[in-house]
Symmetry: C2
Subunit: 788 residues, 2 copies
Amino acid sequence: MNRRAAFTVEPWCIRETELHLEDLGSTESVFALSNGHIGIRGNLDEGEPHGLPGTYLNSVYERRPLPYAEAGYGYPESGQTIINVTNGKLIRLLVDDEPFDLRYGHLDSHERVLDMRAGTLRRQAEWRSPADQAVRVTSTRLVSFTHRSVMAIAYEVEPLHETARVVLQSELVANEQLPEGGSVDPRVAAAMHNPLQALEHDCNGNRITLVHETRHSGRRVAAAAEHVIEVPEGVKVSTNWGVRPDWGRLTVTATLRPGQKLRLIKFVSYGWSSQRSLPALRDQVAAGLTGAIHTGWDDLLAEQRQYLDEFWARADVEVDGDEELQQAVRFALFHIIQAGARAEQRPVPAKGLTGPGYDGHCFWDTETFVLPVLIHTAPRAAADALRWRHSTLQKAKDRAATLGLKGASFPWRTINGDECSGYWPAGTAAFHINADIADAVIRYHGATEDDEFDREIGLPLLVETARLWRSFGQFDRDGWFRIDGVTGPDEYSAITDNNVYTNLMAQRNLRAAATAASSYTEEAEALEVDAEEISAWRQCADSMFIPYDEKLGVHPQAEGFTRHAVMDFESLTEEDYPLLLTMPYVQLYRQQVVKQADLVLAMQLRGDAFTPEQKAANFAYYEKLTVRDSSLSACTQSVLAAEVGHLGLAYDYTIENALTDLHDLHSNTTNGLHIAALAGTWMSLVAGFGGMRDTTGTLAFAPRLPEGLDRLAFTITHKGLRLRVETDGKQATYTLSDHERNPDDELEILHHGDLVTLKLGDPVTLAVPPSPTHPRPSQPYGREPLRR
Amino acid sequence: MNRRAAFTVEPWCIRETELHLEDLGSTESVFALSNGHIGIRGNLDEGEPHGLPGTYLNSVYERRPLPYAEAGYGYPESGQTIINVTNGKLIRLLVDDEPFDLRYGHLDSHERVLDMRAGTLRRQAEWRSPADQAVRVTSTRLVSFTHRSVMAIAYEVEPLHETARVVLQSELVANEQLPEGGSVDPRVAAAMHNPLQALEHDCNGNRITLVHETRHSGRRVAAAAEHVIEVPEGVKVSTNWGVRPDWGRLTVTATLRPGQKLRLIKFVSYGWSSQRSLPALRDQVAAGLTGAIHTGWDDLLAEQRQYLDEFWARADVEVDGDEELQQAVRFALFHIIQAGARAEQRPVPAKGLTGPGYDGHCFWDTETFVLPVLIHTAPRAAADALRWRHSTLQKAKDRAATLGLKGASFPWRTINGDECSGYWPAGTAAFHINADIADAVIRYHGATEDDEFDREIGLPLLVETARLWRSFGQFDRDGWFRIDGVTGPDEYSAITDNNVYTNLMAQRNLRAAATAASSYTEEAEALEVDAEEISAWRQCADSMFIPYDEKLGVHPQAEGFTRHAVMDFESLTEEDYPLLLTMPYVQLYRQQVVKQADLVLAMQLRGDAFTPEQKAANFAYYEKLTVRDSSLSACTQSVLAAEVGHLGLAYDYTIENALTDLHDLHSNTTNGLHIAALAGTWMSLVAGFGGMRDTTGTLAFAPRLPEGLDRLAFTITHKGLRLRVETDGKQATYTLSDHERNPDDELEILHHGDLVTLKLGDPVTLAVPPSPTHPRPSQPYGREPLRR
């Protein structure tokens, strides 16, 4: 794993002080801005050089055929791929007719700063043209949290030494040329390289509008831009406008003396719909633009900061003793709120809106990794993400019917709710996603007591997923309820019987459905739930088969797993990883090798199903097998390592996970950030060193710090209360504040297993008991995490 | 399953007395002629109407890309598809300028006869043109067994009532237009619809030659035709010739009075090569043609009959009491010898050369179903098929290396030896093919004592497949040797642990490798086999894990199988079958449902590994689960049904299997015959009612007849001796004859378990003991075989 120190370490910013063109792909992802609806990669204002240009609108995708060498019944025939929509962030600069292009001339300085309190990406460059004309370029961009359809850029240029004629070209460009590569299927490439068909282009004085439509998926996309130009008094400015089906351009020309600045503020509004008419959409972006201009640049900035101030007040995590970790956890939270804030009943994709990786699809990790963070920091965003799932319930019911099952079978990967997985053993067979969605519903309700949501949204999700489990599983001759032929989180095994993670999560799902249906009797009746069904769910849950290997004293990840050959890790070198690129499935599946936490994740999410001894033994056993070829592993391992007493190892995993994108550890950050791994950074600290568990009724904490960390403090929202937890490793203080309800409210929590009642404004400080000690477990040869 | 009575029932012919255009596709397969090198479908001489035009040369295929929605390491990137080569069987007729086309005018009579002793397809039609000109058309065609490169047709036309001007156009046509349909992938369709690029076309007086080449696979194909024209004295004949890159044509015109015949004898020679130059190939077909003309039509016919007389003398199976079965088993043997006779180190594809089904690929069923027939009826053809496998050994070793394994991993489906399977769980994971190949080697040697073959061909095949098993399996903590993550014959399960069939066949493979390596020490040393390796193979074999379900008293097909849910067959209707077209794999794999005999096949091929009680219990258990969605099931079930005492059921399965193609029971005979199922017909009679087993040293028989069959007699070749077995169900007579070696030779056999020594010319008659009786087992709801 390569490590780069591309950014300075500071608490609230990600600052890059030197530009390395070869890193543009990954830095564009790191510097991406988004509000969950619009996403723009951190491409340079002038468009090129670039790693990968990217402007995304949540759920604007194109359909494409999914080809199979040998097809099977129920295979999805068409996939979905997020597309690069009209680029509104482009501002080209010419200095005395020389294009400002960092590949030419000389760059005296270049700095980009992602400011996580301001919610902006700032850039400053001092550049000398090949003709030695020196200019300073400054830009600040934002994607507004408060104006959902709006992004804006303030762009300034000034000559440094001599009078210069500068030309700015601010553009909207559709069907940008993308770098070659990606799919080898020419049909896919064709669909993705020119995805937008022009419907309308317009230039009305100072406002440019482009409206396009995707060829197959019926997405209409509109973008409109308007500008404010500022120059020192007396400087003459010429402007002209042009528009064509695939581009629109404002050109601004001025001759500036040193110290004189030309400032261009560009407001862009985006809208899309598969339903609304072209005029409606055109009007929508016009209105968005008008609203943004009405607010103005300075107030957009101010609103942005205020939105984030509120977010940090309820969500910040403070770490003393490791500045890099402090920065990383804020980076993580910043991108999570960017991904979720204004998604508003649209999915939170695996890459957020920071890149085209995984085709822009949403997977199980949204519910299992991202939503737990949002539930405790931005519960409305979490509710919206689940409302999106609920909006796809009919598709999931249809899919279940196609598969010959009852209830709902949610897609392994999707944008619009239809299954897009082209390899069913690691797609459709990963039924655990249904229990993962149920789990997020359960946790959301546990943390918010939002009964209205639970009744309207939670109940149907719980009921239909419970129905799936009941129809998919079966009672065997000994009365056990078995779930055979599924794939758990670990993708180096597939189509296994009684995957412990799946069975435990399904058990929780079935029980929660029974409880909810018993609580909301009227709504349950409308879903045709009767007493027989409720009792059947309870019976399935109570009889759930959980395999256990008595001889080894550990849980097999799935039935028979511990009898498989242990992979010969000693024979492998670094070049063999990730194994999926160098080894066929037929080898991976038959051996004991774990891509990502599976049984260990079960121990985090269903800790109640394991004794402390089992946790310690299982953890040690799976450490030896887990190669972390997935970014969804180190965080889970850190949480369990902390729980079973390996605080140093937990710290190592925390750091490895926290630097996934900042250090581009998987060499694929260029395709977008690993949003779930970012959520894992929060989890490492809050669930790992904070010991927080929210899955068993009473909110539990077990703070403990590894050597090297001096203090950890975090704030979460729970049941409308704000709870701050702070520990120096010796004691922990719990402070309840920010009450939205009855001022007499109390909160019962567990501190290292002891029940404590917290009262508003009455901090409680408790001692931290010593950690259990076990010998540090070993990892597969060559896969040890770096020691912190 | 639909049943058609398209053919009259007679012992030596398949006769169709009425033409049904809608059945053309399947009758073209039934009436296909082949010698294993050339295959021509039974298309009408005039080319159309047709079901599917087809002329094939063994191993002439085109490469095509294999697309994947989600690719994985080690997936084959290109596939192979057999192509329709230059059509040489086309003879068009015009009667007073009206084309002889059965869709027009009036057909007074039409008969086609596949004569299994003559080795010809004869046709006679009486047709009136739309202008009411009546003619009789007679044609006889053959693909020569004695001239490997030659097919020939004798074509006659005579006016019946009035003088008529007849024009014959005898053609060679490349890139014939094929019916639409097949693959939805446009690239595949493109490759297959116009597969041949013209290299050379020539017309030298009366000889037409076309040479083509495939675009990607580098197969050069040459075809040459020459004609002999016969007319009554005094009738004037005009001829002219024409040739273009994709066609060549001889036109013959004559005016005939009623009773006068125009006779055209067409000789066609084919050749192909990926190595030899164009001139060499051109000369090769010219030589083939010259040889055929030298022999002449009458002697070609005579040689054909003599070849088949010899075949039937050593291979015939006689059945009294069921004429349909008598006909079917000869039909089966005829097509098996057609598929294998002159393949000569080329594969025997699943469809022979009768159609393009399965892309013309060769699978495991060649070794497991077809070779056992050839081994005992045409051992040299069997040896050649194994020599072909051996010729692909390096590719199989490369494939094993790609998969991270030692030894050789033979392809699941292929033409040239490269893996072409696009769905690895039912392709690469079906490693049993390696043991199946080894099994054929073992049986061939057992039946022939051909030590030279064993040393040169058998040993390397046994050694490299044994190496595969050793590297793929592993010793578990209890000392068992396990083979995990494989797919057995039953394709309704996949990626299972310790499939009993696979493990038992691998055990046999490992032991045979050890024995062979110990016998041929010098050759084994050249393969770097040492004592350690031999002993390791024995240890793997001796420690082979065979799961057993003590509670149910049956063998699970694979570990854990019997704990899966039994499919709810009662909920299914006829339209749900075959299940693979209406149910996703995720449902099939997790349930107890069996597509085709798997554990039951293990009991046939490794009968020594089961007690009689286990066989009875296992058979009854798997009967309830086996839906026979594969044509490779009923024959195996018939063999085991006979062994465990269900003679009536065995008879029912025998008939179902025997009529697979004659009655088009799977509605896909149009794509080619089911060669392995045809082999199964022989197996039902010889291994089923004859009880022959050749897998345990001493050749064993256990003749028994079901009610309805009065007599069964069959001849096999064994150790150079000819053995005839005849039974009326009460007693059985064994006659040894046809000695090629020492006249004192004896043969030890088992008759119902009793050792008997047979001497040349000294028939032994023994009583048949009564059959054990068990209640007739049941099948899945709606899947009972028709009662005979």
